[in-house]
Symmetry: C2
Subunit: 208 residues, 2 copies
DNA sequence: CGACGTGAGTTAACATCATTAACAATGAAT
DNA sequence: ATTCATTGTTAATGATGTTAACTCACGTCG
Protein backbone atom coordinates (compact mmCIF):
# COMPACT_ATOMS: atom_id res chain seq x y z
CA UNK A 1 0.00 0.00 0.00
CA UNK A 2 1.24 3.51 -0.75
CA UNK A 3 0.09 7.11 -0.94
CA UNK A 4 -1.59 6.58 -4.29
CA UNK A 5 -3.86 3.90 -2.83
CA UNK A 6 -4.87 6.03 0.14
CA UNK A 7 -5.85 9.27 -1.61
CA UNK A 8 -8.86 7.92 -3.59
CA UNK A 9 -10.36 6.43 -0.45
CA UNK A 10 -9.81 9.69 1.40
CA UNK A 11 -11.59 11.54 -1.41
CA UNK A 12 -14.47 9.06 -1.30
CA UNK A 13 -14.90 9.55 2.42
CA UNK A 14 -14.77 13.32 2.01
CA UNK A 15 -17.33 13.30 -0.81
CA UNK A 16 -19.67 11.16 1.26
CA UNK A 17 -19.57 12.92 4.60
CA UNK A 18 -17.40 16.01 4.45
CA UNK A 19 -14.09 16.67 6.14
CA UNK A 20 -15.05 15.27 9.50
CA UNK A 21 -15.95 11.95 7.88
CA UNK A 22 -12.29 11.48 6.95
CA UNK A 23 -11.09 9.76 10.11
CA UNK A 24 -7.92 7.75 10.35
CA UNK A 25 -9.70 4.69 11.68
CA UNK A 26 -12.45 4.77 9.07
CA UNK A 27 -9.98 5.40 6.27
CA UNK A 28 -7.79 2.54 7.48
CA UNK A 29 -10.78 0.22 7.68
CA UNK A 30 -11.74 0.96 4.08
CA UNK A 31 -8.19 0.06 3.09
CA UNK A 32 -8.25 -3.18 5.08
CA UNK A 33 -5.65 -1.98 7.52
CA UNK A 34 -5.39 -0.47 11.01
CA UNK A 35 -5.10 3.23 11.72
CA UNK A 36 -1.45 3.50 12.76
CA UNK A 37 -0.42 1.92 9.45
CA UNK A 38 -1.46 5.15 7.71
CA UNK A 39 1.29 6.99 9.55
CA UNK A 40 3.83 5.04 7.50
CA UNK A 41 2.68 7.05 4.50
CA UNK A 42 1.33 10.30 5.89
CA UNK A 43 2.64 12.22 8.86
CA UNK A 44 -0.84 13.20 10.03
CA UNK A 45 -4.50 13.46 9.14
CA UNK A 46 -3.85 17.07 8.20
CA UNK A 47 -1.41 15.94 5.52
CA UNK A 48 -4.04 13.65 4.03
CA UNK A 49 -6.65 16.42 3.97
CA UNK A 50 -4.19 18.76 2.28
CA UNK A 51 -3.69 16.11 -0.37
CA UNK A 52 -7.44 16.11 -0.98
CA UNK A 53 -7.25 19.88 -1.41
CA UNK A 54 -4.40 19.42 -3.85
CA UNK A 55 -6.48 16.91 -5.79
CA UNK A 56 -9.25 19.50 -5.95
CA UNK A 57 -6.90 21.98 -7.58
CA UNK A 58 -5.72 19.32 -10.02
CA UNK A 59 -9.31 18.61 -11.06
CA UNK A 60 -10.01 22.32 -11.44
CA UNK A 61 -6.92 22.84 -13.58
CA UNK A 62 -8.01 19.92 -15.71
CA UNK A 63 -11.38 21.56 -16.38
CA UNK A 64 -9.76 24.87 -17.19
CA UNK A 65 -7.19 23.39 -19.53
CA UNK A 66 -9.94 22.30 -21.90
CA UNK A 67 -10.45 25.97 -22.69
CA UNK A 68 -7.24 25.80 -24.70
CA UNK A 69 -9.19 24.03 -27.43
CA UNK A 70 -10.80 27.37 -28.28
CA UNK A 71 -9.47 28.82 -31.53
CA UNK A 72 -9.61 32.53 -30.72
CA UNK A 73 -8.79 34.54 -27.60
CA UNK A 74 -12.51 35.24 -27.21
CA UNK A 75 -13.35 31.54 -27.39
CA UNK A 76 -10.65 30.56 -24.91
CA UNK A 77 -11.76 33.37 -22.60
CA UNK A 78 -15.34 32.22 -22.73
CA UNK A 79 -14.46 28.55 -22.29
CA UNK A 80 -12.34 29.39 -19.26
CA UNK A 81 -15.33 30.85 -17.48
CA UNK A 82 -17.46 27.89 -18.54
CA UNK A 83 -14.82 25.45 -17.36
CA UNK A 84 -14.63 27.08 -13.96
CA UNK A 85 -18.39 27.09 -13.61
CA UNK A 86 -18.68 23.49 -14.78
CA UNK A 87 -16.04 22.34 -12.35
CA UNK A 88 -17.81 24.04 -9.47
CA UNK A 89 -21.24 22.65 -10.38
CA UNK A 90 -20.08 19.14 -11.22
CA UNK A 91 -17.76 18.80 -8.25
CA UNK A 92 -19.17 21.11 -5.58
CA UNK A 93 -17.47 19.30 -2.71
CA UNK A 94 -14.09 19.59 -4.37
CA UNK A 95 -14.81 23.22 -5.16
CA UNK A 96 -15.61 23.77 -1.51
CA UNK A 97 -12.41 22.01 -0.50
CA UNK A 98 -10.38 24.37 -2.72
CA UNK A 99 -11.51 27.26 -0.58
CA UNK A 100 -11.45 25.64 2.85
CA UNK A 101 -9.67 27.81 5.42
CA UNK A 102 -6.39 26.28 6.57
CA UNK A 103 -7.46 25.87 10.18
CA UNK A 104 -10.45 23.78 9.07
CA UNK A 105 -7.95 21.14 8.00
CA UNK A 106 -5.97 21.47 11.21
CA UNK A 107 -3.19 23.31 9.40
CA UNK A 108 -1.77 26.66 10.46
CA UNK A 109 -0.79 27.62 6.92
CA UNK A 110 -0.89 26.09 3.45
CA UNK A 111 2.26 24.28 2.28
CA UNK A 112 4.26 25.69 -0.60
CA UNK A 113 3.25 23.09 -3.19
CA UNK A 114 -0.41 23.91 -2.61
CA UNK A 115 0.27 27.62 -2.96
CA UNK A 116 1.96 26.79 -6.25
CA UNK A 117 -1.13 25.00 -7.51
CA UNK A 118 -3.26 27.97 -6.47
CA UNK A 119 -0.99 30.35 -8.34
CA UNK A 120 -1.17 28.07 -11.37
CA UNK A 121 -4.94 28.41 -11.57
CA UNK A 122 -4.62 32.17 -11.19
CA UNK A 123 -1.96 32.27 -13.89
CA UNK A 124 -4.27 30.51 -16.32
CA UNK A 125 -6.88 33.23 -15.84
CA UNK A 126 -4.21 35.90 -16.28
CA UNK A 127 -3.06 34.45 -19.59
CA UNK A 128 -6.57 34.24 -21.03
CA UNK A 129 -7.22 37.86 -20.09
CA UNK A 130 -3.90 39.05 -21.48
CA UNK A 131 -4.75 37.46 -24.84
CA UNK A 132 -8.04 39.36 -24.91
CA UNK A 133 -6.39 42.66 -24.05
CA UNK A 134 -3.89 42.14 -26.85
CA UNK A 135 -6.76 41.35 -29.21
CA UNK A 136 -8.38 44.59 -28.00
CA UNK A 137 -11.48 42.83 -26.73
CA UNK A 138 -10.80 44.00 -23.18
CA UNK A 139 -9.71 47.46 -22.16
CA UNK A 140 -6.03 47.79 -21.21
CA UNK A 141 -6.60 47.90 -17.45
CA UNK A 142 -3.93 45.34 -16.58
CA UNK A 143 -4.28 41.62 -17.16
CA UNK A 144 -3.73 40.67 -13.53
CA UNK A 145 -6.16 43.29 -12.35
CA UNK A 146 -8.98 42.29 -14.69
CA UNK A 147 -8.28 38.64 -14.07
CA UNK A 148 -8.59 39.10 -10.33
CA UNK A 149 -11.84 40.99 -10.71
CA UNK A 150 -13.35 38.27 -12.87
CA UNK A 151 -12.13 35.47 -10.65
CA UNK A 152 -13.43 37.19 -7.52
CA UNK A 153 -16.84 37.72 -9.05
CA UNK A 154 -17.12 34.15 -10.31
CA UNK A 155 -15.92 32.66 -7.05
CA UNK A 156 -18.16 34.84 -4.94
CA UNK A 157 -21.24 34.10 -6.99
CA UNK A 158 -20.59 30.37 -7.07
CA UNK A 159 -19.86 30.12 -3.38
CA UNK A 160 -23.04 32.01 -2.56
CA UNK A 161 -25.02 29.64 -4.77
CA UNK A 162 -23.40 26.52 -3.36
CA UNK A 163 -24.31 27.61 0.15
CA UNK A 164 -27.95 27.57 -0.88
CA UNK A 165 -28.51 31.28 -0.30
CA UNK A 166 -29.93 31.65 -3.79
CA UNK A 167 -33.15 29.70 -3.96
CA UNK A 168 -32.86 28.28 -7.46
CA UNK A 169 -31.81 25.16 -9.31
CA UNK A 170 -28.64 24.69 -11.30
CA UNK A 171 -30.11 25.65 -14.64
CA UNK A 172 -31.47 28.91 -13.27
CA UNK A 173 -28.13 29.64 -11.64
CA UNK A 174 -26.25 29.18 -14.92
CA UNK A 175 -28.42 31.93 -16.37
CA UNK A 176 -27.84 34.16 -13.35
CA UNK A 177 -24.12 33.53 -13.63
CA UNK A 178 -24.01 34.59 -17.26
CA UNK A 179 -26.20 37.61 -16.71
CA UNK A 180 -24.05 38.75 -13.81
CA UNK A 181 -20.96 38.35 -15.93
CA UNK A 182 -22.53 40.49 -18.61
CA UNK A 183 -23.17 43.18 -16.01
CA UNK A 184 -19.59 43.38 -14.82
CA UNK A 185 -18.24 43.23 -18.36
CA UNK A 186 -20.39 46.12 -19.57
CA UNK A 187 -20.73 48.13 -16.39
CA UNK A 188 -23.73 49.13 -14.36
CA UNK A 189 -23.50 52.90 -13.90
CA UNK A 190 -25.16 55.84 -15.62
CA UNK A 191 -23.33 59.04 -16.61
CA UNK A 192 -24.75 60.64 -13.45
CA UNK A 193 -22.81 58.20 -11.27
CA UNK A 194 -19.36 59.68 -11.81
CA UNK A 195 -20.35 63.07 -10.47
CA UNK A 196 -21.29 61.55 -7.13
CA UNK A 197 -17.87 59.96 -6.64
CA UNK A 198 -16.23 63.13 -5.36
CA UNK A 199 -16.63 64.10 -1.72
CA UNK A 200 -17.79 60.72 -0.47
CA UNK A 201 -17.74 60.41 3.33
CA UNK A 202 -15.51 58.09 5.34
CA UNK A 203 -16.96 55.22 7.29
CA UNK A 204 -17.29 56.11 10.97
CA UNK A 205 -14.86 54.51 13.41
CA UNK A 206 -15.02 50.97 14.76
CA UNK A 207 -17.69 49.95 17.22
CA UNK A 208 -16.28 47.06 19.26
CA UNK B 1 -25.40 31.01 34.20
CA UNK B 2 -27.41 31.33 31.00
CA UNK B 3 -27.03 31.50 27.23
CA UNK B 4 -25.89 35.10 27.35
CA UNK B 5 -22.93 34.18 29.56
CA UNK B 6 -21.85 31.30 27.35
CA UNK B 7 -21.83 32.96 23.93
CA UNK B 8 -19.03 35.49 24.59
CA UNK B 9 -16.73 32.75 25.86
CA UNK B 10 -17.57 30.62 22.82
CA UNK B 11 -16.68 33.56 20.58
CA UNK B 12 -13.42 34.08 22.46
CA UNK B 13 -12.44 30.45 21.99
CA UNK B 14 -13.35 30.61 18.31
CA UNK B 15 -11.37 33.79 17.75
CA UNK B 16 -8.34 32.28 19.45
CA UNK B 17 -8.19 28.87 17.82
CA UNK B 18 -10.90 28.46 15.22
CA UNK B 19 -13.94 26.23 15.25
CA UNK B 20 -12.17 23.17 16.56
CA UNK B 21 -10.96 25.12 19.59
CA UNK B 22 -14.56 25.48 20.74
CA UNK B 23 -14.85 22.28 22.76
CA UNK B 24 -17.49 21.69 25.38
CA UNK B 25 -14.92 20.84 28.04
CA UNK B 26 -12.74 23.85 27.31
CA UNK B 27 -15.73 26.16 27.13
CA UNK B 28 -17.08 24.81 30.41
CA UNK B 29 -13.72 25.23 32.09
CA UNK B 30 -13.55 28.87 31.04
CA UNK B 31 -16.97 29.35 32.59
CA UNK B 32 -15.94 27.66 35.86
CA UNK B 33 -18.27 24.74 35.30
CA UNK B 34 -18.20 21.18 33.98
CA UNK B 35 -19.07 20.18 30.42
CA UNK B 36 -22.47 18.55 30.92
CA UNK B 37 -23.74 21.74 32.54
CA UNK B 38 -23.65 23.39 29.12
CA UNK B 39 -26.32 21.00 27.91
CA UNK B 40 -28.78 22.70 30.26
CA UNK B 41 -28.60 25.73 27.98
CA UNK B 42 -27.66 24.37 24.55
CA UNK B 43 -28.78 21.08 23.05
CA UNK B 44 -25.40 20.46 21.44
CA UNK B 45 -22.08 21.91 20.42
CA UNK B 46 -23.55 22.49 16.96
CA UNK B 47 -26.16 24.80 18.49
CA UNK B 48 -23.43 26.85 20.15
CA UNK B 49 -21.45 27.15 16.91
CA UNK B 50 -24.57 28.25 15.05
CA UNK B 51 -25.01 30.94 17.66
CA UNK B 52 -21.49 32.17 16.90
CA UNK B 53 -22.45 32.32 13.24
CA UNK B 54 -25.56 34.26 14.17
CA UNK B 55 -23.42 36.66 16.18
CA UNK B 56 -21.24 37.14 13.09
CA UNK B 57 -24.27 38.17 11.08
CA UNK B 58 -25.34 40.52 13.84
CA UNK B 59 -21.94 42.19 13.82
CA UNK B 60 -22.01 42.46 10.04
CA UNK B 61 -25.46 44.01 10.06
CA UNK B 62 -24.25 46.46 12.67
CA UNK B 63 -21.43 47.60 10.41
CA UNK B 64 -23.74 47.90 7.44
CA UNK B 65 -26.37 49.84 9.34
CA UNK B 66 -23.95 52.71 9.82
CA UNK B 67 -24.27 53.37 6.10
CA UNK B 68 -27.71 54.80 6.83
CA UNK B 69 -25.99 57.91 8.14
CA UNK B 70 -25.20 58.83 4.52
CA UNK B 71 -27.34 61.71 3.28
CA UNK B 72 -27.73 60.73 -0.37
CA UNK B 73 -28.32 57.39 -2.12
CA UNK B 74 -24.76 57.63 -3.50
CA UNK B 75 -23.33 58.17 -0.03
CA UNK B 76 -25.31 55.32 1.49
CA UNK B 77 -24.34 53.08 -1.40
CA UNK B 78 -20.67 53.90 -0.94
CA UNK B 79 -20.79 53.52 2.83
CA UNK B 80 -22.43 50.13 2.48
CA UNK B 81 -19.49 48.82 0.53
CA UNK B 82 -17.09 50.39 3.02
CA UNK B 83 -18.99 48.91 5.93
CA UNK B 84 -18.87 45.44 4.45
CA UNK B 85 -15.15 45.75 3.74
CA UNK B 86 -14.44 47.16 7.19
CA UNK B 87 -16.35 44.37 8.86
CA UNK B 88 -14.41 41.74 6.93
CA UNK B 89 -11.01 43.32 7.63
CA UNK B 90 -11.65 44.15 11.27
CA UNK B 91 -13.31 40.84 12.12
CA UNK B 92 -11.88 38.34 9.64
CA UNK B 93 -12.69 35.33 11.80
CA UNK B 94 -16.32 36.39 12.12
CA UNK B 95 -16.42 37.08 8.41
CA UNK B 96 -15.11 33.57 7.80
CA UNK B 97 -17.71 32.16 10.16
CA UNK B 98 -20.48 33.85 8.19
CA UNK B 99 -19.55 31.77 5.19
CA UNK B 100 -18.71 28.48 6.89
CA UNK B 101 -20.40 25.53 5.18
CA UNK B 102 -23.08 23.95 7.36
CA UNK B 103 -21.34 20.60 7.67
CA UNK B 104 -18.26 22.32 9.10
CA UNK B 105 -20.39 23.10 12.13
CA UNK B 106 -21.79 19.59 12.30
CA UNK B 107 -25.14 20.79 10.99
CA UNK B 108 -26.93 19.32 8.00
CA UNK B 109 -28.69 22.57 7.14
CA UNK B 110 -28.90 26.09 8.53
CA UNK B 111 -31.83 26.82 10.86
CA UNK B 112 -34.51 29.23 9.78
CA UNK B 113 -33.53 32.09 12.07
CA UNK B 114 -30.03 32.08 10.58
CA UNK B 115 -31.41 32.08 7.05
CA UNK B 116 -33.49 35.08 8.07
CA UNK B 117 -30.39 36.95 9.22
CA UNK B 118 -28.68 36.11 5.93
CA UNK B 119 -31.63 37.40 3.96
CA UNK B 120 -31.60 40.55 6.07
CA UNK B 121 -28.06 41.37 5.02
CA UNK B 122 -28.96 40.70 1.40
CA UNK B 123 -32.02 42.90 1.71
CA UNK B 124 -29.91 45.79 2.95
CA UNK B 125 -27.80 45.60 -0.19
CA UNK B 126 -30.93 45.41 -2.33
CA UNK B 127 -32.39 48.54 -0.78
CA UNK B 128 -29.21 50.58 -1.27
CA UNK B 129 -29.06 49.55 -4.91
CA UNK B 130 -32.74 50.30 -5.49
CA UNK B 131 -32.23 53.80 -4.18
CA UNK B 132 -29.42 54.35 -6.66
CA UNK B 133 -31.45 53.03 -9.56
CA UNK B 134 -34.28 55.37 -8.64
CA UNK B 135 -31.79 58.24 -8.47
CA UNK B 136 -30.59 57.15 -11.92
CA UNK B 137 -27.05 56.56 -10.74
CA UNK B 138 -27.26 52.87 -11.69
CA UNK B 139 -28.75 51.50 -14.86
CA UNK B 140 -32.20 49.88 -14.49
CA UNK B 141 -30.98 46.30 -14.62
CA UNK B 142 -32.94 45.13 -11.59
CA UNK B 143 -32.04 45.95 -8.00
CA UNK B 144 -31.75 42.33 -6.87
CA UNK B 145 -29.64 41.45 -9.89
CA UNK B 146 -27.17 44.30 -9.47
CA UNK B 147 -27.07 43.77 -5.74
CA UNK B 148 -26.18 40.12 -6.18
CA UNK B 149 -23.45 40.97 -8.64
CA UNK B 150 -21.91 43.51 -6.29
CA UNK B 151 -22.18 41.25 -3.27
CA UNK B 152 -20.65 38.31 -5.14
CA UNK B 153 -17.73 40.39 -6.31
CA UNK B 154 -17.06 41.88 -2.89
CA UNK B 155 -17.37 38.55 -1.13
CA UNK B 156 -15.20 36.74 -3.64
CA UNK B 157 -12.46 39.33 -3.52
CA UNK B 158 -12.45 39.50 0.25
CA UNK B 159 -12.43 35.77 0.73
CA UNK B 160 -9.54 35.41 -1.71
CA UNK B 161 -7.61 38.06 0.21
CA UNK B 162 -8.37 36.57 3.62
CA UNK B 163 -7.04 33.22 2.45
CA UNK B 164 -3.70 34.87 1.80
CA UNK B 165 -3.71 34.19 -1.93
CA UNK B 166 -3.03 37.84 -2.65
CA UNK B 167 0.40 38.69 -1.35
CA UNK B 168 -0.28 42.15 0.02
CA UNK B 169 -1.06 43.95 3.25
CA UNK B 170 -4.41 45.38 4.26
CA UNK B 171 -3.75 48.87 2.95
CA UNK B 172 -2.77 47.58 -0.47
CA UNK B 173 -5.84 45.37 -0.52
CA UNK B 174 -8.16 48.28 0.20
CA UNK B 175 -6.83 49.94 -2.94
CA UNK B 176 -7.23 46.75 -4.95
CA UNK B 177 -10.78 46.42 -3.65
CA UNK B 178 -11.74 49.89 -4.73
CA UNK B 179 -10.06 49.58 -8.12
CA UNK B 180 -11.81 46.28 -8.76
CA UNK B 181 -15.13 47.86 -7.84
CA UNK B 182 -14.45 50.65 -10.29
CA UNK B 183 -13.84 48.06 -13.01
CA UNK B 184 -17.13 46.24 -12.50
CA UNK B 185 -19.06 49.49 -12.19
CA UNK B 186 -17.72 50.91 -15.46
CA UNK B 187 -17.15 47.71 -17.42
CA UNK B 188 -14.05 46.21 -18.94
CA UNK B 189 -14.87 45.51 -22.57
CA UNK B 190 -14.08 47.33 -25.81
CA UNK B 191 -16.60 47.81 -28.63
CA UNK B 192 -14.93 44.85 -30.39
CA UNK B 193 -15.97 42.50 -27.61
CA UNK B 194 -19.65 42.33 -28.42
CA UNK B 195 -19.05 41.02 -31.93
CA UNK B 196 -17.24 37.98 -30.51
CA UNK B 197 -20.18 36.98 -28.32
CA UNK B 198 -22.09 35.23 -31.10
CA UNK B 199 -21.17 31.66 -32.06
CA UNK B 200 -19.23 30.85 -28.90
CA UNK B 201 -18.50 27.13 -28.50
CA UNK B 202 -19.88 24.87 -25.78
CA UNK B 203 -17.63 23.38 -23.14
CA UNK B 204 -16.79 19.78 -23.99
CA UNK B 205 -18.41 17.02 -21.93
CA UNK B 206 -17.42 15.93 -18.43
CA UNK B 207 -14.16 14.12 -17.88
CA UNK B 208 -14.64 11.96 -14.81
C1' DC C 1 24.17 -19.07 4.56
C1' DG C 2 23.48 -15.97 8.40
C1' DA C 3 23.36 -11.20 10.23
C1' DC C 4 21.40 -7.02 9.63
C1' DG C 5 18.56 -3.28 8.54
C1' DT C 6 14.44 -1.40 6.50
C1' DG C 7 9.65 -0.95 5.38
C1' DA C 8 5.01 -1.91 6.64
C1' DG C 9 2.09 -3.72 9.40
C1' DT C 10 0.24 -5.00 14.26
C1' DT C 11 -1.71 -4.30 19.32
C1' DA C 12 -2.04 -1.52 23.39
C1' DA C 13 -2.19 2.73 25.27
C1' DC C 14 -3.01 7.90 26.11
C1' DA C 15 -5.38 12.03 26.00
C1' DT C 16 -9.19 14.28 24.25
C1' DC C 17 -13.69 14.73 22.35
C1' DA C 18 -19.30 15.04 22.48
C1' DT C 19 -22.81 13.19 24.79
C1' DT C 20 -25.81 10.70 28.20
C1' DA C 21 -27.49 8.74 32.64
C1' DA C 22 -28.04 9.11 37.35
C1' DC C 23 -27.83 11.79 41.11
C1' DA C 24 -27.49 16.09 44.32
C1' DA C 25 -28.33 20.72 45.85
C1' DT C 26 -30.78 24.96 45.75
C1' DG C 27 -34.65 27.83 45.89
C1' DA C 28 -39.39 29.23 44.89
C1' DA C 29 -44.31 28.20 45.10
C1' DT C 30 -48.21 25.84 46.89
C1' DA D 1 -43.32 21.40 54.96
C1' DT D 2 -43.59 19.42 50.58
C1' DT D 3 -43.14 19.56 45.84
C1' DC D 4 -41.03 20.76 41.67
C1' DA D 5 -38.06 22.85 38.35
C1' DT D 6 -33.51 24.55 37.69
C1' DT D 7 -28.78 23.90 37.57
C1' DG D 8 -25.28 21.80 38.65
C1' DT D 9 -22.29 17.34 39.63
C1' DT D 10 -19.72 12.61 38.79
C1' DA D 11 -19.23 8.49 36.12
C1' DA D 12 -19.48 6.30 31.93
C1' DT D 13 -19.68 5.32 26.72
C1' DG D 14 -17.80 5.27 22.41
C1' DA D 15 -15.17 7.79 19.09
C1' DT D 16 -11.17 10.52 17.83
C1' DG D 17 -5.66 11.48 16.49
C1' DT D 18 -1.45 9.92 17.74
C1' DT D 19 2.56 7.37 19.84
C1' DA D 20 5.29 3.43 21.64
C1' DA D 21 6.72 -1.06 21.32
C1' DC D 22 6.66 -4.96 18.85
C1' DT D 23 6.42 -8.42 14.78
C1' DC D 24 7.17 -10.05 10.34
C1' DA D 25 8.77 -10.24 5.55
C1' DC D 26 12.19 -9.02 2.45
C1' DG D 27 16.55 -7.58 0.38
C1' DT D 28 21.50 -6.84 0.92
C1' DC D 29 25.97 -7.61 2.28
C1' DG D 30 29.78 -10.14 4.71
Amino acid sequence: MNRRDILPHACDLYLQGGIEAVSMRRLARDLGVTAPALYRHYASREEILLEVVSESYRLCAEHLSRALSGRTPAERFHLTGEGYLNFALRHPKFYEMMHAPAHTLGAAVFPADLMARMDGVGQFFNDRVRECIEAELLRPLGAQEISLTLWAHAHGLISIYLRGCLHMDEEAFRLVFHESNRRIMHGMVTPLYEATQKDLPQDTAAVA
